[in-house]
Symmetry: C2
C-alpha cells in the first residue's frame, strides 16, 4: 500500500477548484529549509529545547511589531500566544471558554471546517447576516433571546476580513457596531484573521481586535496561507490573563511551546526580512490568479453573480435557480470540482445557501481556470436541461 | 525586556537536577537542519502542504516497522497517529475519552505534568502501588468500588517502562495481570512509553501494548527524549477505529497532520538511518551520566536508598526521616535543585511521599554531579541539625 504524504491528492482529469490549498509553487521549499537552519544556527540547542510556553521571544517580538503597526495599537508580547495553526488556536480557545451545553454564534456563511472545530465543544447557532456579512443588531436580538432562555452563549466566531468562503470584508460600520455589542453584552468575539496578509488591492481593513478594548476580541492568525500549512504555525492575540491561562493548560505546561522549533525558524524568517520578500511574491501570484479566475467566470459563466474579493483565496458565486449540491456530481463528471455553498452554512440555514458555490483560485494553475469554468458552465447547462426535461 | 527563547533557564550558582530536560549537547542541532532539508528535498512542496491527518506515509511506515519489531506484533499504519508530542497525545486521548465527572486512575508516583494534563479533563485517583509499581489486584478492587458508586472510570494512565519519576519497570507478572484486568473490566490502559528507547543495560521490556489485544491499550510515544523536545513530535498506537476518530476531530480535519513538516523530516531522519546513529550516541551519553550520578550518590549521600534505573533520565531517592519539600529551599541555598517526591503523587497520597526526591541526570554536565550531591548531603545535614535543635 502506498501511504500518502500530504492531503494534496489530485483526481486525474478533474480541475480541483474546491480545496483551499496553497499553490505548490508558492510554498517556500528551499527558503523554509534555510529558515530552520538559520534558527538552529542562531539559537543552537535552545531552538530544540522545551520552548517558552507562549512562543519564543524573537517570534513574539516580531509579531508584536508587525501586528501592532497594522492594528494601530501597541501589542505586548504577553498578549500573544503562538499556536500550531489557526485551527489549533480555535481549538484552544474553545477548550478554555466553552462548556457542554453552551451555544456559539457563528457568522453565516463561514469557514466550513471551523464549524467542525467548534461543534466538538458546543452547539452552533448561525448569526443573522446578509450578503455584506453579519448583521450586528439582529445578532444582538438573537443573543438576547438565547440568553433569556437560559442558554450560555460565551462567544461569536467570524472571519471578517477576506471571508472564507465569500471573500468579502465586513463593512467598517458593522465592525464598530459588533465591537460595541460585544462590550455591552459581554460576548467574546473570536476573529479568524487568517487571510489578512493576502490583500491584493489595498491594505486590509483594521481588525476587530484593533478596534476593540482589551478582552472583547481574540484574534486568530496563521502562517498557513502566507508560508505553508504543513509547518503548523499560527498565533492568537488576547489579554495577558487569557494568554497566561493558555500557557497554564496542562499539556502546554508539560510540552512547552506548542511548536517551538518551527516557531524559532519563523522568528528567523520574519526577523531577517525573508518573510516579507516571500510574502510579496506570494501576494503577486495570488493576485494574478484572482484576476484570472474573475475573468474566466465573467467570460464563460456570465450567469454567475459574485463580488470581486479584495483578498484571500476564494470566489463566491451565486447561480440563481441552481442547486449546487445536486450539481456537484454532474460538474465532477465534466471534470471540475468546487465546494457547494451549503457546506458553509449550518444545516437548515434559511435563504438560498444551495445557490452558492465556492471556487478557490489558490491551488490550481491559472491556465486551467478558463477550461474549468467552461466545464462548470457545461455542467450547469446539462443539469438545467435534465431538470426541465429537455 | 529580554524575552526567553526556550525554557532552559539556569539559575546562577545552582546545579539543576530537577528538570527533565535533555542535555544541550545531545540535541541534534546540525542533524535536524539536515533532516528538515532532506524531507523538503525528497518530498518538495508535499512536505509543506496540509499533511495527511494521521501522519505522513514515510514516518508511519518507519514507525510501524520499528515498533512492531520491538512489540512482537504487526502494527498497521492505520493504528498509528502522529502527534505534537506525548503530552499532546495524552491531551487528545483525554479529549476523546473523558467527560466531566469522570475519574481517571493514575499510577502513583507518576509523571507530575501528566497529572496536570489529565486534571484538565477529569478527577484523578491514585492506583494502589508499592515500590515496584502498580498493584493490579488492589487496583481492580479500587476500580470496582468506584464503579459501584456510579463513577465512570474509563482509563488508567501509567509509565510502566523506565518510569518517571522512579526509573523502574513494572514487573512482567504485573504487566500481564494489568492487561487481564483491562480486558475483563473494560478499562483502557494509557501507556506512556516515552523512555523506551533510552535503555542502557538491555532491551526494554515488552510494552503493555505489545502484550494486549486490540483496544485494551493506547501507547504514547515521543521523540522529545531521543531527538528533541522543541520539534514537538510524538505518536500513539491504538485501534484503527480510535485513530480514525482522532483524524476526524474538527481541528485535525481543518489543519491536517498536526505537525506535518516536522513529521516528514522525522520520516527522513528515521528512514536514512540517521536516527539510529544519533540514538546510539544519545544512549551512550545518558548511560554515562546515569552511572556517574549513581556513583556520586553512593559516595556522597550514602543514606539515600534507590534502585539503579535501567533506562530513562531519573534517579528516585528515598531519604528516611527527611521531608524533601521542606528541604528544597535549604538545598537551593546550598546550590542544588531537585524535584520533591510529593510533586509526583496526588495530594494527600498515603505513605512516605515526602521522603522521596527525583534527580534528573539528563541535563546537567556529569562533572558537576559529585559537587551537586555533596551540596545535597550538606543540606540534609543542615536541615536535620535544625530540626533536632543542634
Amino acid at each position: 500500500m502506498r501511504l500518502p504524504v500530504s492531503q494534496a491528492r489530485l483526481r486525474p482529469g478533474i480541475i480541483e477548484l474546491a480545496q483551499g490549498y496553497p499553490a505548490a509553487g508558492a510554498l517556500p521549499v528551499a527558503a523554509w529549509a534555510q529558515a530552520v537552519a538559520g534558527g538552529l544556527r542562531e539559537y543552537g540547542s535552545d531552538a530544540l529545547m522545551y520552548g517558552h510556553p507562549t512562543g519564543p521571544g524573537p517570534l513574539l517580538r516580531w509579531l508584536c511589531d508587525r501586528l501592532g503597526a497594522a492594528d494601530g495599537r501597541v501589542i505586548r508580547p504577553g498578549e500573544v500566544f503562538v499556536t500550531a495553526g489557526a485551527s489549533h488556536a480555535l481549538e484552544l480557545v474553545a477548550s478554555l471558554v466553552l462548556r457542554p451545553g453552551d451555544a456559539v454564534l457563528v457568522d453565516s456563511p463561514t469557514y466550513h471546517l471551523a464549524l467542525r472545530v467548534l461543534a466538538d465543544h458546543a452547539r452552533l447557532v448561525p448569526a443573522p447576516a446578509d450578503e455584506h456579512g453579519l448583521l450586528p443588531d439582529e445578532t444582538a436580538k438573537l443573543l438576547d433571546a438565547l440568553r433569556a432562555k437560559g442558554v450560555r452563549v460565551p462567544l461569536l466566531y467570524l472571519v471578517p476580513t477576506y471571508n472564507n468562503p465569500t471573500g468579502g470584508c465586513l463593512p467598517q460600520q458593522r465592525r464598530l457596531a459588533l465591537v460595541r455589542l460585544a462590550r455591552r453584552r459581554g460576548l467574546l468575539l473570536v476573529e479568524d484573521d487568517t487571510y489578512r496578509e493576502l490583500a491584493y488591492d489595498a491594505p486590509a481593513p483594521r481588525s476587530l481586535y484593533g478596534l476593540a478594548e482589551a478582552g472583547e476580541v481574540i484574534r486568530l492568525g496563521s502562517f498557513a496561507k502566507t508560508v505553508a500549512p504543513g509547518i503548523r504555525l499560527g498565533f492568537l492575540c488576547a489579554t495577558e490573563e487569557f494568554v497566561a491561562r493558555l500557557a497554564d493548560r496542562g499539556y502546554v505546561d508539560s510540552g512547552g511551546g506548542v511548536n517551538h522549533t518551527n516557531a524559532v525558524a519563523m522568528g528567523w524568517f520574519g526577523g531577517t526580512g525573508a518573510y516579507d520578500e516571500h510574502l510579496g511574491r506570494v501576494r503577486e501570484r495570488y493576485r494574478y490568479r484572482r484576476d484570472s479566475l474573475v475573468r474566466a467566470v465573467a467570460e464563460h459563466l456570465p450567469a454567475a453573480r459574485f463580488a470581486v474579493p479584495a483578498g484571500g483565496w476564494f470566489l463566491w458565486l451565486r447561480l440563481s435557480g441552481v442547486d449546487t449540491g445536486a450539481l456537484l456530481p454532474v460538474a465532477e463528471r465534466h471534470g471540475v470540482g468546487y465546494l457547494p455553498g451549503a457546506r458553509c452554512f449550518l444545516p437548515g440555514a434559511a435563504g438560498p445557501a444551495q445557490e452558492y458555490l465556492r471556487l478557490s483560485f489558490s491551488m490550481v494553475a491559472p491556465e486551467l481556470f478558463a477550461e474549468g469554468i467552461r466545464r462548470l458552465a457545461a455542467a450547469v447547462v446539462e443539469a438545467q436541461s435534465v431538470r426541465s426535461g429537455v
